[in-house]
Symmetry: C2
Subunit: 431 residues, 2 copies
């Protein structure tokens, strides 16, 4: 039995609040260990990276050269990947590239009514590190989603780090890196890889920003190096919220709920519907499909522990609930999704209608699958080209402009007790 | 004597690296104290806020109502501010508003060549908290710089917190809040104010994002609540880099260097010039002006400890140095600033020519004065409207689109071992 709530229940607000505030992640306290790793890599460089890689990934290497993935190694990996999979990766790449190219911000240089020149100039971050997890969570699609926006932005150096525990590296990840235009690859991971990217070593030049998902050690390391370099968000377990009217195929919705649930036992799948019949059909379909799923254990745990079905009278009136949940993924599986879309305030990505399962967005839709989790869509956005560029403000006054604006600047500087600020203006005006 | 480097010196690269990596901030370890404050406010709400305010700000209040700034209190504050200062604030507001209005991103909804509908929709963050320091660093200009972009973005609730140690509140800060359209003001500060904004209390509804500068306690609290809410950057001490050719008035440049230095003993002012004569003139002018500066002690400490003059042969060839410094403020005090501007890669804001002292940008230029410090212009930007909006991705396939894209999504899902992802597509295609 999955949690079922009804908006007309007297206890609903309390139950909904509990659902919203429920913690799905056990935060491991690895901060002390991570601090030591960062400090050793910062001071010792390559040697520390080699030591930690031997210890944590059981991968002995004499030098960083051995941990550097060569072009020949990528060629060999590509030869192992079935052509159909390569074609699928290329299609995904091309669609992601096309979509993200539209996000590139434009420079804005203008002269205001009194003649002051202002502007905003955008430049790419010079070097970016992309963290790719090893093992089963080593997803080629994530390589594309992180590297392509950087490439579109114009980042010159895109450095991928990917641990290869016991020497095992997913050839698809190397294929995706080649397709996306990654410029350097090191088979290292964990906090030591984050430190190498942030501080640099004898072999690895430092980057300016680090993106990509990772385990608790990687997340803690990213938090700690933030400031020395930029980081992307710290991603939590994945989530989907489906809003569905009675005109749905219950099997399709069940498949969508399970596609989230199979990610992680801490993933969350929620269905909001105005049809009690559909709710029961979907619940039964989930149960039936679970039994045939290779990752049944993971998906079942997620669905039982964090899944929920919420019954409402009216889907449009239920939109405030969706906005409070602020889901990473929102499916509007209704006859008129555009009407509901108008009421969406907080969501990472919205999938409209019956033929847009969320998995299309994970791979080939073109939009990014790195999206805000854990209600952070209230204040943040998915990964985009904007995360790989930065804006420089431009200001240019002539003597006339300064005469016009100067007295106000002097007044404010003096009012804040900053006389040297005021003087830097008055001295130019002979005041 | 201020530090002087010469690019032709054999030791230059080492000296420059030392200048770049020099720490200017002593990081106070207040994390444990802050953790306790956050936890108490989270669980006890108003009561904890009242207790901490009594203890840290020496301000006894029976209820949060007493700590809520009323419209009448703002009216009274406004009546105390000289009209010229109010006019200056209004001018600053209007220019900041006009500049930031150009930053508002546009929704992008389009249909791709195969008929898939995609898009990016921008919505405002619903509620934002603005932290304003108390005491001498309580700057009305900062209120404008933080609140106006939020207002332009369309944020409905703008909640200002400002501590009033011993009950003292700067009337200019209230005036700026009124002009900027702040919707709620509480006279609270420190980690307890950050906690109240992030978690909410009985009186204060929680916000989704917190911006604004503060002391070590505020910075540590912001780092800790990050994730529950969004935060802006953690700002470090202010900096200016001036690139100057021989055609400069040394007194003007000295005034600009000191305008930075007077902020904070940890502020940094650097001059790069191709003229040894100018270097010496500026150094002498700084010395002369220091003696007449009300904040002489602060500015002198900053200049002596962190100031520097770097001699180069050719300013254009020296641009890589400027980009490595990645200054918060960059003045191009040269005959042809546009030529140098083309080579700027990393800078928070650039001030062009001889008549654009940085202080104009602090107050009335129109661009934001909240800018990336401590070399973070390599990967981040100044505060803008973009920090108060978020983007939702839109994806809409019809049955035909799904038939075209589905097989690639299925192939990638299977290749990643995510069968339920693949099934959510195949089930719709009867595969």
């Amino acid at each position: 039995m999955v949690l079922r709530l009804n908006i007309n229940d007297a206890r609903f607000e309390d139950q909904f609040k509990a659902l919203l505030s429920g913690k799905r992640e056990v935060s491991e306290d690895v901060d002390q260990i991570v601090r030591d790793i960062l400090e050793r890599v910062r001071t010792e460089g390559d040697k520390a990276v080699l030591d930690y890689t031997a210890r944590f990934d059981r991968l002995q290497a004499e030098s960083m050269a051995e941990l550097t993935v060569s072009a020949a190694e990528i060629d060999a990996a590509l030869a192992k990947v079935p052509q159909a999979t390569l074609d699928a990766l290329q299609l995904a790449h091309d669609r992601i590239h096309a979509h993200h190219a539209r996000q590139m911000p434009k420079d804005d240089r203008y002269t205001d009514p009194i003649g002051v020149e202002l502007g905003s100039l955008w430049t790419a971050v010079e070097a970016v590190g992309i963290y790719v997890p090893g093992g089963t969570a080593s997803y080629p699609s994530s390589v594309l989603m992180n590297a392509v926006p950087a490439k579109v932005a114009g980042v010159e150096r895109i450095v991928m780090v990917v641990p290869s525990p016991d020497g095992v590296l997913n050839p698809l990840v190397l294929a995706a890196a080649r397709i996306a235009g990654v410029t350097e690859i090191y088979r290292i991971g964990g906090a030591q890889a984050v430190a190498a990217l942030a501080y640099g070593t004898q072999t690895i030049a430092p980057v300016a920003k680090i993106v990509g998902p990772g385990n608790a050690f990687v997340a803690a390391a990213k938090r700690r190096v933030f400031g020395t370099v930029g980081i992307d968000m710290i991603a939590g377990p994945s989530e989907v919220l489906i809003l569905a009217d009675s005109g749905n195929n219950a099997d399709w919705l069940a498949a969508d709920l399970l596609a989230q649930a199979e990610h992680d036992t801490a993933a969350q799948s929620i269905l909001i519907t105005d049809s009690e019949d559909l709710a029961s059909q979907v619940e039964a379909a989930v149960e039936a499909q679970l039994k045939t799923l290779p990752r049944e254990d993971v998906a079942r745990a997620s669905w039982q522990d964090y899944g929920a079905i919420i019954l409402v009278d009216d889907l449009e009136a239920a939109m405030p609930l969706a906005n409070r949940i602020a889901p990473e993924h929102l499916e509007l599986a209704v006859a008129d999704p555009e009407a509901l879309l108008k009421k969406v305030r907080n969501a990472g990505a919205v999938f409209l209608g019956h033929y847009t399962p969320e998995a299309i967005g994970d791979y080939v839709g073109g939009s990014n699958h790195v999206l805000p989790t854990a209600r952070s869509a209230r204040f943040s956005s998915g990964l985009s080209v904007l995360e790989f560029v930065k804006r420089t403000s431009i200001l240019k006054c002539n003597a006339d402009n300064l005469r016009q604006l100067g007295p106000a600047a002097i007044a404010l500087g003096e009012s804040e007790g900053l006389s040297a600020h005021a003087r830097s203006v008055s001295i130019r005006l002979n005041l």
